[in-house]
Symmetry: C2
């Protein structure tokens, strides 16, 4: 076999193209973040623009579920190019991400647009907080890509501006969001690492569809409920009990306070104007199952975010038993299982050449 | 045919027995009262012994459902003899009724025991307030049998001591319970007669079983919810809107406030310690159906007492349509239908001789 001169040029061009392609990949920054399940819920803002919450909250990162976000700057782009789960982002989502990138651009002084690709390994918008892991991963990957070097509180503050609960997906394991009084002191800190307690979340998925009302819209309605201020005023009590239950690994104590807190948030939702009723009949079926499971002596409790799915929490030894029981419920389409997860983190490229 | 002397004596005795029997029937007093469905709910007492409520409430009597109670004094009885729905009363129910009869005996100064028979034309203890109609009928029949002549407020106050919401089953039609500050001024009054508005209650029965936790026990738990005081403080707003909606026959206005009030009560129930979750999956199915019915332009709203059944209210012209839709829900076992009902009233004996 011999090679013609035009053939050699073609090969050289192909090699050059590959080098440029890999260089672009090298420039791209990838971060992973986990969604979190709140034990003490965030519902309602004291200040909307910076998402300063009406009350503090506590959550656990979910290690099995993750958002992976890659971003690279490209001076040739006329606008940000955004892909979500392999498809070009819908305008509503794209706008929210562009606004967030603008915050990073202002902070970094670099105005270059970015190519951004993000994907979740769990159903989007189903009540599992994809916006939390999404904006946590984006805060980390984005700040890095734009040359910012932020410490954990600063990253948490940045993530909060994309989605309030995203600030809790920055630190590791069991996390508390200190509500603060303004943008400077409203961020999340780790209360305990993921290996502190082998607590496991079994997410009974009863509805993998998109929510009708986004959490962002819901937060605006919180103040219309006649019950919200009482819920907010009672927060310190719930936070104190929850913190103690986590530190002492006291599942029974955690069960009581987490279920009450969940029902207090849904009470506010249901009594706001207009009323937000996120529950489905299947939601109550799972609640009943958990109450029954507990009556059999198996430690477990439930909590529900702004959606219909039910998070069932237990310690690792009871997971197989509870999984079987949850899967036996006809209206439960699947069960996602996750122990406590680590912090938002950068992914080092595997490419070598 | 001829009659022996002993035969004549026997006949005479039989006639005498019959006269005594009818005389006893004549002495017996029968009253009818309807249960009521609360638009603004009663939940929690300011004072337990006399059932002075934490907040005022508004309800509608249900004409198709009734409790019928007959009572007669019998000096030969060593204790009260109580029959409920044709069977000797269970001790728990009997004790509550005996305690109530004691109040009447103290008030009348007559210590004679009574023979009492009461029956409902609807399932007992299923979330339809059988205690409301029960103690309203008993207050009226009992006070009459013991020779008391009470006016409507006095009767309402008496009924309240048996079961709080029973005071609302004394006046006619659409009724408000003025909470008062003590036993002297806590009673119900009629806001409008039954023919003021052709509002109809379709009760979707999803569970005709007995409640696990009685309302009396539930009222004691109200104060353990961090949301109860906010609910109570907001009551005047809800009462004002509800009163106006009834007076103006404004179904849309009534719908918003009644659903919110219902959800506020269940919010308090769910967040009390221990938590009271009265809802079943089927409860949410009916709620969803009502929301769907309304989205089709048919005016309707729901409310739920301390139970799993859902009361669906609409005006008379939409009843057939909504009945069909509710019966189509598999988990709805039956639908009871009732327009607004009259006051508690005495039944004149039909016996003539």
């Amino acid at each position: 076999m011999y090679v013609t001169l035009p053939g050699i040029y073609a090969q050289a061009e192909a090699i050059d193209f590959k080098i440029q392609y890999y260089r672009k990949l090298m420039d791209s920054v990838t971060a992973i973040a986990h969604p979190n399940i709140a034990f003490i819920k965030y519902w309602g803002n004291r200040e909307d623009e910076f998402r300063i919450p009406s009350n503090g909250s506590i959550s656990m990162n979910l290690s099995s579920l993750e958002t992976r976000t890659s971003i690279s700057l490209d001076a040739g782009l006329p606008a940000d190019q955004i892909t979500i789960n392999g498809e070009i982002a819908k305008e509503r989502d794209a706008e929210r991400i562009r606004n967030f990138l603008e915050i990073i651009r202002r902070q970094s002084g670099i105005s270059t647009y970015a190519r951004l690709s993000t994907s979740n390994n769990f159903p989007t918008g189903s009540g599992i907080a994809s916006s939390a892991s999404g904006f946590a991963a984006l805060a980390l990957a984005g700040s890095k890509a734009y040359g910012l070097s932020l410490n954990e509180p600063a990253l948490s503050r940045l993530a909060r501006k994309g989605s309030g609960s995203a600030c809790r997906s920055i630190p590791a394991g069991f996390v508390e969001w200190l509500p603060g009084k303004d943008d400077t002191d409203s961020f999340a800190v780790s209360l305990a690492s993921p290996d502190h307690w082998q607590l496991v979340d079994l997410v009974a998925i009863v509805n993998a569809g998109q929510k009708k009302i986004s959490s962002t819209e819901g937060h605006h309605l919180a103040s219309t409920s006649p019950l919200q201020s009482a819920r907010v005023m009672d927060t310190d009590r719930r936070l104190t009990i929850c913190r103690e239950a986590i530190m002492e690994r006291d599942l029974n104590l955690l069960a009581v306070i987490v279920e009450q807190d969940c029902l207090m948030m849904h009470a506010v939702m249901m009594t706001s104007s207009p009323a937000l009723m996120y529950w489905l009949p299947a939601t109550l079926e799972v609640i009943q199952a958990v109450v029954h499971i507990r009556s059999e002596g198996i430690p477990a409790f439930y909590t529900i975010d702004a959606g219909a799915n039910v998070h069932v929490l237990t310690t690792i030894e009871f997971v197989p038993d509870i999984e079987v029981k949850l899967r036996a419920i006809a209206s439960v389409s699947t069960v996602l299982i996750s122990p406590a997860g680590g912090p938002a983190r950068l992914v080092t490229s595997d490419l070598k050449f």
